[in-house]
């Protein structure tokens, strides 16, 4: 009985230890990917900032050119939603938080009477929304961990045309922003229309970092040529800017994903350590118990035998005495 329990525990410890090896390996892989993902965010920054500058310049240069391409739409009857999650699980609450934010957004929009068209990136989204009976118009997979600009273009080619053709009034993206290695948060951002730079300046946005006061002054003061003219240029620019934003969102999501995975796997590795410790303790106690019991049995048996001997001796003695 006691030996059986010991064997069960030994098996379980071995299983936990091999699981721990896997989680440890995944943790290390994720940790190395974080560095690479951050480097890719940094590499994309000049382009994103340049694109933001050009949009600002064009929008400020000819305020009448914007039309429905800039600002916040007054009435939203149809909205496109792009949710970005991971292809794989094992990354803690990363996917779940995006799902929750997406569902909340979709429910809010529906309550407001808007028609929602849902697009997703990441394999995990397919299963989730199918299970919920939520129709997904198009889902992209195979790009969540290492998105290339070409991937962003593929997404943009599907999600941007409905806006350009006026089929949706607004296009939003739900994804995880990578603020720093220690802070990532799910955010709902408007992709199209483009953010109006006059509202943007001073607030948190990719564009603002390099637009210090002097430079902003420069932008407003300078006379700028447009080629083609601003309205036409902005129409060309909007899809490009949207695809740049999608690329940025994909990169930040990828960095957040591997960070979440690294953290989840580190926690799993720690848990495995805990479990091994706990099980070994139980196992050792079980082993000692069984040894103690055995000793007790032996001693008891020996005692009993000795008592028998004493008894028989005594009996003899008694007998002799008699």
């Amino acid at each position: 009985m006691a030996g059986g329990q010991e064997r069960v525990l030994r098996r379980r410890i071995r299983s936990v230890q091999s699981t721990k090896k896997i989680t440890r390996a995944m943790e290390l892989i994720a940790a190395s990917q974080i560095v690479r993902a951050q480097a890719r965010i940094a590499a994309a920054r000049p382009y994103r900032e340049g694109m933001a500058r050009i949009v600002i310049e064009t929008a400020v240069g000819d305020p009448t050119a914007a039309g429905r391409l800039l600002g916040t739409p007054e009435t939203i009857e149809r909205v496109g939603v792009l949710a970005i999650v991971a292809d794989r699980g094992l990354c803690g609450g990363y996917n779940t938080s995006v799902f929750r934010a997406t569902e909340r957004l979709v429910a809010d929009q529906r309550r407001g009477g808007a028609e929602v068209r849902l697009f997703t990136v990441g394999k995990k989204a397919q299963g989730y929304f199918r299970f919920r009976g939520q129709a997904v118009e198009h889902s992209f997979t195979g790009m969540s961990e290492r998105p290339t600009f070409e991937d962003a273009r593929r997404v943009a080619r599907v999600v941007v045309p409905p806006f350009v053709e006026g089929e949706v009034d607004q296009l939003v993206v739900v994804s995880t922003r990578f603020r720093s290695a220690g802070s990532q948060m799910v955010e709902v951002r408007q992709l199209l229309p483009l953010a109006d730079p006059r509202q943007l300046v001073g607030e948190d946005a990719v564009a603002v970092r390099e637009l210090d006061a002097a430079e902003a002054e420069e932008v407003r003061d300078g006379y700028t040529e447009f080629e083609p003219e601003a309205a036409e240029l902005l129409a060309d620019l909007a899809p490009r800017a949207a695809e740049t934003d999608i690329f940025g969102a994909l990169l930040e999501a990828a960095a957040s994903e591997v960070t979440a995975r690294q953290r989840a796997m580190a926690a799993a590795t720690d848990n495995a350590d805990e479990l091994v410790k706990k099980y070994s303790r139980i196992m050792n106690r079980a082993r000692q118990d069984s040894i103690t019991t055995e000793i007790m049995e032996i001693v008891g048996g020996a005692e009993a035998l000795r008592a028998d001997d004493v008894d028989s001796d005594g009996g003899e003695m008694i007998r002799t005495a008699v």
Binding site: A43, Y47, I54, F149, E215, E218, E227, P228, L233, R240
Partner: protein, 191 residues
């Protein structure tokens, strides 16, 4: 001094910065034809067509790049932000013959391209093969598209005129890209 007519030039793609530094002249293609930028150019924002961009830097060497469409912005920036190289600025004589318009202002040209390659990074053999492949594909799709639209494409009567099926557009874009690449490395394009 060659530096006097140098300005800050950036050629940036989403995945990396291809060129960053001082240039004296940049030539690129826009909707209205080829444009040349020199130091002190008027601020401008423009759409760039697929083509070869030629950047001449301070010592006269030319960098060529294949740019597959993008946008260019010319702006005046503060000299500190625009300093093309860490040359000694405290030189008292330098301030006198500085031709930049006004103190502390320089020109910055940023060219943003979704896809672009420096000529030196282009694999000529591969580009040539890609061009041939794309050409064959375009020819094949164009002919099959014509027969298909003649057969059953009745629900989209106007679509087959200029647009064509997405595969054809894609193949034509690939052909265009391959041609621009070959042009950047100065190899006569096939066809």
């Amino acid at each position: 001094m060659a530096d006097d007519n140098a300005f800050r030039m950036e050629l940036v793609t989403p995945e990396r910065v291809l060129f960053l530094g001082a240039a004296t002249q940049v030539v690129l293609r826009t909707v209205d034809g080829d444009l040349t930028f020199l130091n002190g150019h008027t601020p401008l924002v423009g759409a760039v067509l697929p083509g070869v961009v030629r950047i001449t830097d301070a010592d006269g060497t030319e960098t060529r790049a294949a740019v597959h469409g993008g946008f260019v912005q010319v702006e005046k920036v503060s000299a500190s932000g625009a300093a093309p190289n860490p040359a000694p600025t405290s030189d008292p004589g330098g301030a006198v013959d500085t031709p930049v318009p006004g103190p502390g202002v320089g020109t910055r040209v940023s060219l943003l391209a979704g896809v672009a390659e420096l000529a030196g990074d282009i694999d000529v053999e591969r580009a040539r093969r890609a061009a041939e492949r794309a050409e064959a594909l375009v020819a094949e799709l164009a002919s099959s598209g014509r027969s298909a639209s003649g057969g059953g494409g009745t629900d989209e009567p106007g679509a087959d005129g200029g647009e064509g099926p997405p595969e054809l557009i894609e193949a034509e874009a690939a052909l265009e890209r391959a041609r621009v690449r070959l042009e950047a490395v100065e190899v006569p394009t096939p066809g």
